[in-house]
Symmetry: C2
Subunit: 364 residues, 2 copies
């Protein structure tokens, strides 16, 4: 069987979805739907074999498809998913799945009633940098991890298309936060206990362009997720992805999406102070506790090389439809990310942390 | 008049206090008190003119002094300050002033009853790196500041002397946290609203050797204070002091205690997306919102050069005694720092933020 899919919303990511569907065996992109006639004209020129539709209703009524990829503006996901589910479509929805947990619950009600499959395009679970960090975490390469920092910096608040408009679901927490939070939750093997977040409109009028989120987990990990679109430096490689992970037997850093970094250890751990230390202050640099390490103390290892590609998201999805795999991005995980995002907004507004109780872990 | 001072506690910092007192006009160090006979022997050899005492009681009874500098272990500050105050001494106490707010209140009761002056050795208000940040903040060099990061990283959990023992007031929040928090509170012109903190014993058994503290202020500044004694990297300059400050007209960074850094701006702020942006994805690097800036977009300025030295702490103190200055480090400020530290411990234990109400701003 060849899966016949339509792409609903032919913007930046919709264009990519068409190309992706066309690249996978047993799958085809047979239709595109967009409200913008210019974009449909572009489809007709590049892919004359693809049907084009101006409305989701027309698409669902007239086209012979098995499923849809929803890649319209965030505020349109709910309506498009519900209509698609009721038409019996299996669905891949762009991230964030919904503008709120309440919206997502409405969507899932329609999905469950229709008995269709819904997943969300959290393809950054297959980012190389993330998979590298995840591997080191799972292998306990750094012992007991206490801190994970995931950050991304930009240079002039650059945001595109409808992402600058609040009513359409703009802002960086929706756009990137959803990926960065999803990565951490996907990796963690422990309940989330609390969220503390700072969210700002630094140079954008309507929407957030900076956030710093602390997620505290029961197992002792605190993950810090920071994104700044107007967070400047003249230092090389600043304007890219950064990770830092610290454990009790070492640390690691990884920069760039195709990560460059090291696992770093010391040749000896300080076990305790000895009597002689009392007067040895001069050897410790500018202060006694900190300063440049002695030569040979710091040793490094290469970070592992993890082979991973975004296409694996789609491979998993279609293997799931064929009964040959378990769905990678599960609706209950999607819901949890939305819960965390709502907790972030609440925390930022109230200047207080938001608790996650164990009961919240088993919802859906 | 020449101020005759004694130094109580001749450890690392006590040694420095003797030298400092000897370097200031109108001040002399006439006595040293320590429970360790070896250390007193060292005093006798280096400074034969200085009286030596084994107990604070003997010092206060026998020596003709105007004041004391208390530089014993943290757990001894309370008793030593109270005894000194009752003997009519003006007092400089090492940081942290006390192990708790309750202890400090007891100390201040004795100080106030005796009508003596107490200050605390928060000399890092005169650190060059901090003063540089403070100047840029006060000059509004970056517009409206939203984030300030103050961090310090070490290499093998190196902690000295009694600082590894909990009972003596060890741990890095007491040792360094008190400075890093004091700097931020001293600089801020707005009430503190909430504290969220993560505090760990990463490789030390008894005491904390890592902390990450978020302080949210009413004016929109979030200050993040991070210290890691086992927070490794092989990158140059990692093992030193770091600052980052972000505002809506630029950012700045400063590394090292004698700071090296830049104020960084963009030649144009993104005002909003334009229609053409829809298809221009390829110019934005690895993702549309982030990526390397175009040549010429990032411009830098030198950070200001601020001349400042720790000796100014003592100059202010003795000028205050002479009625020629206002005390720099005020007891109510010292108390506030201790309140914040207690909030940090509570936050770390409870996985929740601790609120600061306006009423707490006017205590003491």
């Amino acid at each position: 069987m060849k899966y016949r899919y339509a792409v609903v919303g032919y913007g930046f990511i919709g264009r990519r979805h068409v190309a992706t569907l066309k690249s996978i065996d047993n799958v085809d992109c047979v239709a595109v739907c967009d409200t913008n006639p210019q974009r449909l004209e572009e489809v007709r020129e590049i892919y004359p074999e693809i049907e084009i539709y101006r409305t989701i209703d027309q698409l669902l009524e007239e086209s012979d498809i098995n499923g849809v990829i929803i890649s319209a503006n965030n505020n349109q996901h709910k309506e498009l998913v519900i209509k698609s589910a009721r038409a019996g479509m299996d669905i891949i929805c762009e991230k964030p799945a919904a503008m709120s947990v309440a919206e997502f619950d409405e969507m899932m009600e329609a999905v469950d009633q229709a008995g269709v499959t819904l997943t969300v395009h959290q393809q950054r679970r297959f980012d190389k940098d993330f998979q590298t960090i995840k591997k080191c975490y799972e292998d306990r390469s750094l012992g007991d991890v206490y801190t994970i920092k995931s950050s991304l910096y930009g240079y002039n608040g650059n945001m595109h298309d409808w992402h600058v408009y609040k009513s359409e679901g703009g802002g960086m927490l929706y756009d990137w936060g959803v990926h960065l939070i999803d990565q951490i939750l996907y990796m963690m093997d422990s309940p989330l206990k609390a969220v503390f977040a700072d969210i700002r409109n630094v140079i954008n009028k309507e929407v957030d362009d900076y956030f710093n989120i602390l997620l505290r987990f029961e197992n002792g990990v605190t993950a810090e997720i920071e994104l700044g679109t107007y967070y400047l430096s003249d230092q090389k490689d600043w304007f890219e992805r950064h990770w830092y992970m610290g454990g009790n037997t070492g640390s690691m850093y990884a920069n760039k999406f195709d990560p460059e970094g090291k696992i770093v250890r010391t040749t000896k751990l300080l076990e305790n102070v000895n009597e002689d230390q009392d007067k040895s202050a001069k050897s410790y640099g500018p202060t006694r506790s900190f300063g440049v390490p002695e030569p040979g103390l710091i040793v490094t290892e290469d970070i592992p090389k993890v082979e991973t590609e975004h296409i694996e998201f789609f491979e998993n999805y279609f293997a799931t439809l064929a009964g040959k795999a378990e769905l990678l991005v599960k609706p209950q995980e999607v819901r949890k990310v939305l819960e965390v995002m709502e907790a972030c907004w609440k925390s930022a507004e109230t200047f207080s942390s938001v608790a996650f109780e164990p009961s919240m872990e088993v919802k859906v």
